[in-house]
Amino acid sequence: MSVDSVIELSGVTQRYGDLVALQGLDLQVNAGEFISIVGSSGCGKSTLLRLIAGLMPLSEGELRVNDKPVEGPGEDVGIAFQTSALLPWRNVEQNIALQLEIRKLPRARFEHELRRLIDLVGLKGFENHKPYELSGGMQQRVALCRALIHDPSLLLMDEPFGALDAMTREQLNLELQRIWMETGKTVVLITHSITEAVFLADRVVVLTARPGQIAEVVDVPVSRPRRFSGLSAPAFQQACDRVRSLMNAPGLD
């Protein structure tokens, strides 16, 4: 096993009662790698993310993060959930800072980063707005900032851009790529968009329908930084086609 692999799954199987959500997953994610996970709804993507995040016990198999078996939520992990999960009585700034408060990190040290993130995701001027005063997409952006504020080395995201319009989505994809290139974080991104998955990832993990198994891991051999204008390049197209055909394959969906 390589030294710098951050996440290691071997024979990971997850059950909810009688329902087998994930079956026999083997996967290694290297440090600094960007991984996308795609698969039809209900195939176990969120389950996989929860397992990596240490949010629930594993039914079977082995799962290591940073060379240690996962026993609970890690120190150095940031998560953006499928719903924004903001606290309604806290404004944008306070919702982001919740991560610091709970982890007992000094707010002053992260003040600059807080401003920068708010600016980055285009929420400047909305610092004092409560969640109900924001659109769904803005709420998701707040959740993204909250996942990033403590500068975790592992970033887990569950369809963070689901509620965004195409324009904003592409913008945030570019920002995410930039953050990732600058900081060298390891990122696991769940998405329903094949284009988004391929555009951002070094490797795309395609899961089969229930029970979720790895159909194939598709490499995206395109150099960085990538641009949306370059999406017509053959390497992109091949990867997209491969992912699409895997997801449409008979018996897999």
Partner: protein
């Protein structure tokens, strides 16, 4: 102030209807006194009525506060341990199907006619809504919120103070509002069973004397107490949880 207009119109229509009924159907005053007779009676006996109203208010508030002081901690206990829940919940539900009002005479026998037993009876009536809605509220934290807290490695105390309790407040308040209304009912019933003062006692003696004007005056006082207490709680709610959806809804519709 604009929000006062519509309830006032309703009130005027109500009084007009009252007149119409008493004139059209020629209802004798000992069955349905005219509004002005009631108003005059309230004016004349104001100090007397206020004295009894204070007694009833005192009993209501006593039972109401007791419900909160005991009800919310009980809900905390029940939601914090599944063993306690299994041990207590069935009995709590059972105690609700049991008509607590039927206990009132027994409580008077045991504890006498003073203020204390009346507060106990009021408490029995007002207690349940607080407990149940607090339990519902404390359980209302959704899966992703729980996981968010866990992912930040929140301690049990942090989860409680920063997530669970504030998330429970809207539900707790809706229970408190039901409870404050119940507590007035409880106080009146307690006075019916045995009392020498209070609005419930006045109701009985007015009834015995066929003094319907007094009866209506007492009903008016009870209504006022109920409304004042209810809105006091609403005010407190708006202060404590301004972010709560039902309050926000009201703000936008009244624009």
């Amino acid at each position: 102030m604009k929000t006062m207009v519509y309830p006032l119109i309703t009130f005027v229509l109500f009084v007009v209807g009252w007149y119409a009924v008493s004139i059209l159907f020629e209802v004798p005053p000992y069955l349905l006194p005219r509004p002005e007779a009631v108003a005059e009676r309230i004016y004349q006996d104001f100090a007397f009525l206020c004295h009894h109203a204070l007694v009833t208010t005192y009993e209501s508030l006593g039972g109401f506060f007791l419900s909160i002081v005991l009800g919310i901690p009980l809900a905390l206990l029940i939601t914090s341990s599944s063993i306690l829940e299994k041990a207590i919940m069935p009995w709590l539900v059972l105690s609700q199907t049991f008509p607590k009002v039927a206990l009132a005479p027994l409580i008077i026998v045991w504890f006498g006619l003073g203020m204390g037993p009346k507060i106990v009876i009021t408490f029995l009536v007002a207690f349940f809504p607080v407990v149940i809605s607090s339990i519902v509220g404390l359980r209302s934290m959704e899966r992703e919120m729980v996981e968010l807290a866990a992912s930040m490695r929140a301690t049990r105390l942090q989860v409680f103070w920063k997530f669970r309790l504030p998330l429970a407040l809207p539900s707790i308040f809706s229970g408190i509002k039901v409870s404050v209304a119940f507590s007035i009912v409880g106080a009146v019933i307690a006075e019916w069973v045995g009392a020498s003062e209070g609005l419930g006692y006045l109701l009985l003696s007015a009834n015995a004397n066929l003094d319907t004007t007094l009866l209506f005056s007492v009903l008016a006082f009870l209504t006022v107490i109920g409304v004042v207490l209810y809105y006091a709680i609403e005010y407190l709610e708006a202060l404590l949880i301004p972010w709560h959806a039902t309050i926000r809804l009201k703000e936008t519709t009244s624009l």
